[in-house]
């Protein structure tokens, strides 16, 4: 039996993210594993009953294709899952991915995963959308789930700027979950891609979200967590990103906000880098020297350029009523000559003014 068909059959019987089986498939090849399992009593019978061609045809009628390792569009990032240890007994390179939508998965090279809480705040959702839009504008694809909150916002941000965007689902790629996101998932299936390791028709069971999370981390080169409570699936994705040596980033929120507590935890533990904007994400994801940002800093003030002595003298110059060089020198505690020369220099730079009574601050120095 051909590799692809063997994989279809195995995908039908295997639960997504079963690390033992997936590692066997990666090491021995799908045909070998398939042949061996056929000899198994119960499982063998179930395998034998599967007609892979018909499965592929049925999927194709739903607009779903099956992408396997070795295909041109197979995203190489997924192969990193072979060497990563399982998390919560899930792991391994997927047998194949069911994909609905025109976007080729190879396009996900250099993509960013945006994850976070389903019950995010509206501020968090705005940030996620903004960040996805900035990263998308730089030509990078966005990977996320299809849940409420941050996932939805991330896709919306990417769609706004016409960036490729992909939702990885825990249910079959032909299904819509959550049902309220029909429009979002339809849009992704028409413009981007909807991806799942679960066979078409499969239900969104809880454990499948854990398997799904490893794909989100593996498909992208970096994961940014926007809002996540202490017990959040987004932290599972973050864990995978670390395990896969992907860049992990966190957007902080108000320190008292429960919605950001999980993000703060991963930043504090040193696993994630703090980012506050899409530009900062790009800087981290890019090659050295690419997208380098200027250090953010306050506005320059005229006083910044002065020497220590000049500042001391300037501090002693009165605001409104003029004072003589002599009285200023007395306040500063420097020689009159030195003070006088300094004041003349300050006058040339427009910081002080001179009238018949002496020196006073010019408007420039009021700031």
């Amino acid at each position: 039996m051909a590799d692809r068909l063997a994989r279809v059959a195995l995908a039908k019987v295997a639960e997504p993210g079963n690390p033992r089986l997936l590692d066997l498939v990666t090491d021995l090849g799908a045909e070998v594993v398939h042949a061996r399992l056929l000899q198994h009593d119960e499982l063998g019978q179930r395998l034998a009953e599967i007609e892979p061609e018909r499965e592929l045809d049925a999927a194709a009628r739903q607009g779903v294709r099956f992408v396997v390792p070795g295909d041109e569009e197979w995203p190489s990032g997924l192969d990193d899952l072979r060497s990563a240890d399982p998390v919560q007994e899930r792991g391994g390179v997927p047998i194949g991915l069911w994909v609905r939508g025109p976007l080729r998965l190879s396009r996900l090279e250099g993509s960013l995963a945006v994850v976070g809480s389903r019950s995010s705040t509206t501020d968090g959702a705005d940030l996620a959308a903004d960040l996805a839009a900035t990263v998308g504008r730089a030509g990078r694809a966005i990977v996320s789930g299809a849940a409420y909150g941050i996932d939805h916002a991330a896709h919306r941000g990417a769609i706004t700027v016409g960036a490729p965007t992909v939702a990885v689902l825990a249910c079959g790629a032909d299904r819509v979950y959550p049902a309220k996101h029909q429009q979002l998932i339809d849009h992704l299936a028409a413009q981007g891609a909807v991806v799942s390791e679960t066979v078409p028709g499969g239900a969104p069971m809880r454990v499948r979200f854990l398997s799904r999370n490893r794909l989100i981390a593996a498909l992208s080169v970096g994961t940014v967590v926007v809002e996540a409570a202490l017990r959040s699936g987004a932290l599972n994705t973050a864990n995978w990103a670390t395990r896969l040596n992907r860049q992990l980033m966190g957007v902080p929120g108000p320190v008292t906000s429960a919605q950001s507590a999980g993000v703060h935890q991963v930043i504090r533990s040193g696993a994630a880098t703090l980012v506050t904007s899409g530009e900062e994400v790009l800087e981290l994801l890019g090659a050295v020297g690419e997208h380098v940002l200027d250090q953010p800093r306050g506005k320059d003030r005229p006083r910044d350029a002065l020497s220590h002595v000049q500042r001391r003298v300037l501090d002693a110059v009165p605001v409104s009523r003029s004072a003589t060089s002599r009285s200023i020198a007395r306040v500063v505690g420097l020689a009159v000559d030195e003070v006088h020369t300094t004041l003349q220099a300050l006058e040339r730079s427009g910081m002080v003014e001179c009238d018949e009574d002496g020196w006073r601050l010019a408007a420039l120095a009021h700031d």
Partner: protein
């Protein structure tokens, strides 16, 4: 019989007192005396009535002493609409009309010297007050018969002149008289775009999901709302659409609105009962009297009262004068407004939603978001401005929302087209129906008006919900007054979601609405 009593009504704000105009015509020193705390306008009635009676071809008892008492005598009375009652009672006392025909009947109208009637302001509340006191028939100037007919079970006689009144009382044929000019010239001025607000729909607005939800809650429960955000973020556009999501007025509300318009002299009875809630948006240089109410003699309702059952929108709220802002405290808290004068204290209803909009700083560009901040104000300017916004008035506001400038991602419409006003209005109506059912036996209609102690006793929060509120109070993040407002809001959120009782999530939503913290996306999703 040389003695007769006619009835009319004296208005003190929205409260009407039934006044007996008693006239005694008896031998004695010739003259007319009027007693019973009448002001100048009523004292002049003597002359107007005398000339009107004579010019109507009727007999003025010129050779006897006429004493007119306005009873109760301790009440200060004012207004020219007493004329008709005075004239009729003199005629009855003199025997020109049967005194028995004046029983259970109220006379309203100002007389001219030729005996014709003029329209008066406030006919509807007067007739409402008369109906309360068991009066079943009124004589009003003809243009205001429609207004008076709004009161159920009232037989209304619209008349043009004193002779017509006399003819009706004598059950004779009604003589011709020139028509009476209507009260206001409001309809003289009409312009295109006048009905602009009716055309606006929430579907036109993109993004600002958070503020849209806040507006929905405010409309459902009659809560006051403060929107803050940089200029151009959609505050005004959003508020102008609130009227569109409010349900039609109930019959009671409609009558109240009509009564207030009648007091203000802006009721157009030709339009019948108002069905849509009022929307009032005074400019920020409005005077205290125009906003709160006032005027000479008769107290005119201000914008807070004209917006009763509807929306009072104060855009650029910090630009209003300090005394005007301070004066808003009472209407915000109690839903009415009391105007005290030397001789009288008048209370008018003012139970509309108050919506305040404020820029974050004088230039309007300040944003907490460092990448977006184009503000040119100095820190001290910003502080002064903020101090005007916060304070006693904002403590009385239920919902505080901070809007962000629009982002590009707000402009995506194909994912989730913005909901139309009609859809939101249906939800608001359903939520109001639940409140009407719950408060059927009470004196208030909406959660926003429910008194705190009653709410706590009869419609308490769950234990966990109350603890969440109490914690905020102990932490000093919420005032006691704020806690009551959270309680009311939690009920409104529950009503919008169709729940029997507010749970922890509704309380959390209410706390966020109140404190200005961002809402959770799930809170907005659950409502729709």
């Amino acid at each position: 019989m040389p003695f007769a009593t006619a009835h009319t009504v004296s208005l003190h704000g929205a409260v009407g007192h039934l006044i007996d105009v008693q006239t005694d015509v008896s031998p004695g020193q010739v003259g007319v005396t009027m007693v019973g705390r009448a002001d100048t306008t009523i004292n002049e009635a003597r002359d107007r009535c005398r000339m009107a009676i004579i010019n109507s071809g009727l007999d003025w008892p010129a050779t006897r002493r006429i004493t007119i008492l306005l009873s109760p005598a301790d009440l200060l009375k004012s207004g020219t609409h007493f004329d008709l009652a005075v004239a009729v009672s003199v005629l009855a006392a003199a025997g020109s009309v049967p005194a028995s025909s004046l029983a259970q009947t109220v006379f309203i109208g100002e007389l001219t010297l030729d005996g014709n009637l003029r329209a008066s302001a406030g006919v509807l509340p007067m007739v409402m007050a008369a109906a309360e006191r068991g009066v079943r028939a009124v004589f009003v100037p003809e243009p205001q018969a429609g207004e008076a007919s709004m009161v159920p079970d009232m037989s209304v006689v619209g008349v043009r002149s004193l002779s017509q009144v006399v003819a009706v009382l004598r059950q004779e044929e009604i003589p011709e008289a020139p028509p009476v000019a209507p009260m206001s010239g409001a309809r003289l001025l009409a312009w295109r775009g006048q009905e602009r607000l009716d055309e606006l729909d929430l579907a036109d607005l993109l993004g600002i999901a958070d503020a849209r939800f806040a507006v929905e809650v405010a409309a459902a429960g009659g809560h006051h709302l403060l929107l803050s955000g940089p200029k151009g973020c959609g505050k005004t556009s959003l508020v102008e659409r609130i009227q569109g999501i409010l349900p039609d007025l109930t019959r009671d509300e409609s009558l109240e609105v009509s009564a207030i318009r009648s007091l203000a002299g802006t009721l157009d009875p030709g339009e019948g009962f108002p069905t849509r809630p009022p929307f009032s948006a005074p400019h920020h240089d409005a005077s205290k009297a125009s906003l709160i109410g006032g005027g000479f003699g008769v107290v005119r309702p201000g914008e807070v009262s004209k917006a009763h059952t509807g929306v009072l929108f104060l855009d650029e709220f910090p630009l209003f004068r300090a005394d005007v802002i301070e004066a808003l405290r009472q209407p915000l808290e109690n839903g009415d407004v009391t105007i005290a004068r030397r001789d009288e204290s008048v209370t008018l209803p003012a139970r509309g939603m108050v919506v305040l909009a404020a820029n974050p700083c004088p230039c309007g560009d300040y944003s907490g978001d460092v990448t977006n901040n184009r503000c040119t104000c100095r820190e001290t300017q910003r502080r002064d401005y903020r101090n005007k916004v916060t304070g006693p008035v904002t403590d009385r506001v239920d919902i505080v929302r901070n809007l962000r400038p629009l982002r590009t991602h707000d402009l995506v419409t194909d994912l989730e087209p913005a909901e139309s006003s009609a859809v939101v209005r249906r939800r608001v109506e359903a939520a109001r129906d639940r409140q009407a059912e719950r408060y059927a036996e009470e004196s208030w209609r909406l959660n926003g008006h429910a008194p705190g102690p009653v709410l706590r006793e009869r419609w308490p929060l769950t234990k966990a919900g109350q603890q969440a509120v109490d914690k905020r109070v102990y932490d000093g993040k919420l005032s006691r007054r704020g806690a009551t407002r959270v309680h009311r809001l939690a009920w409104t959120v529950a009503d919008l979601r169709g729940l029997e009782h507010p749970g922890l999530d509704e309380v959390d939503t209410a706390l966020r609405l109140r404190t200005g913290d961002p809402l959770l996306v799930s809170m907005i999703e659950r409502a729709s």
